[in-house]
Amino acid sequence: MSTAEIDRQWTTRLRKRATGHLPPEKLLPDTQPAYVSSWIYVFGVTTLAALMMVILSGIILAIRGPQWWHSSAIGHFVNSTHLWSVEIFFFAMIVHLWGKFFMAAWRGGRSLTWVTGVVTFLASVGTAFTGYVSQTNFDSQWISTQAKDGINATGAGSIFNVLNLGQMLMWHIVLLPLAAVLLTAIHVLMVRVKGVVPPFEENGATK
């Protein structure tokens, strides 16, 4: 095979593109600019850590099932771990969002980072909602019967039926978490590709 032919292979092109945009030392850097040593930068990683706990505890809930999480002490514990990790996840995500908003962290070609953040937020809200209606207790019955009126009024009820436990559970444990995790992966990779956004210039120029 000639070098021209090798250069045209999709494996070669993909590798060159990937390593061009994200060489290993950019993906896993040794140091960060001085302005990154502030607590405000910790909230992105806190969100990430909480998301990992949510997924881990969710996997255990899925393995053992509702009877277990409703009736055994350890089941209650894992259920609570799942809920409280979600609380920390949203708490940290909102503070993270505020931080990035006031830094205008979408500057310098970072709009995809911001937009994947926004869409991850929306996917997370949907995941939390379908989680609340998948509890299989009086709370979930109450929430779904309240929510159906609002959602049916939009017309979305014809394909997204909050009273359909099977559908809600599948959105909660397959579709939405998959979307949230994929979007988060793109989000964090975009931060590595672009590098952390520099502070505003002192003379007020935005750059």
């Binding site: 405000i40 909230f43 503070v95 505020w98």
Partner: protein, 60 residues
């Protein structure tokens, strides 16, 4: 484990929830507390010194 259940008795859950009504804003006290805690965390993150910051500056 039984003693853990008794902890739940510290918070009475059999009453109506508490709500704050402020013009068009209706929010449960629990949610309001969470919002206040987020604001405190945000402001604290901006002003609290980050450990190791001065050390790193000296070495530059």
């Amino acid at each position: 484990m039984a003693y853990l259940w008794s902890l739940a008795a510290l918070i009475p859950l059999n009453n109506y929830g508490h709500y704050i009504h402020w013009g068009v804003i209706d929010i449960s006290v629990a949610n309001f507390i969470v919002v206040v805690l987020m604001i405190i965390a945000f402001v604290a993150a901006l002003f609290l010194p980050f450990p190791g910051r001065s050390r790193r500056k000296e070495s530059r």
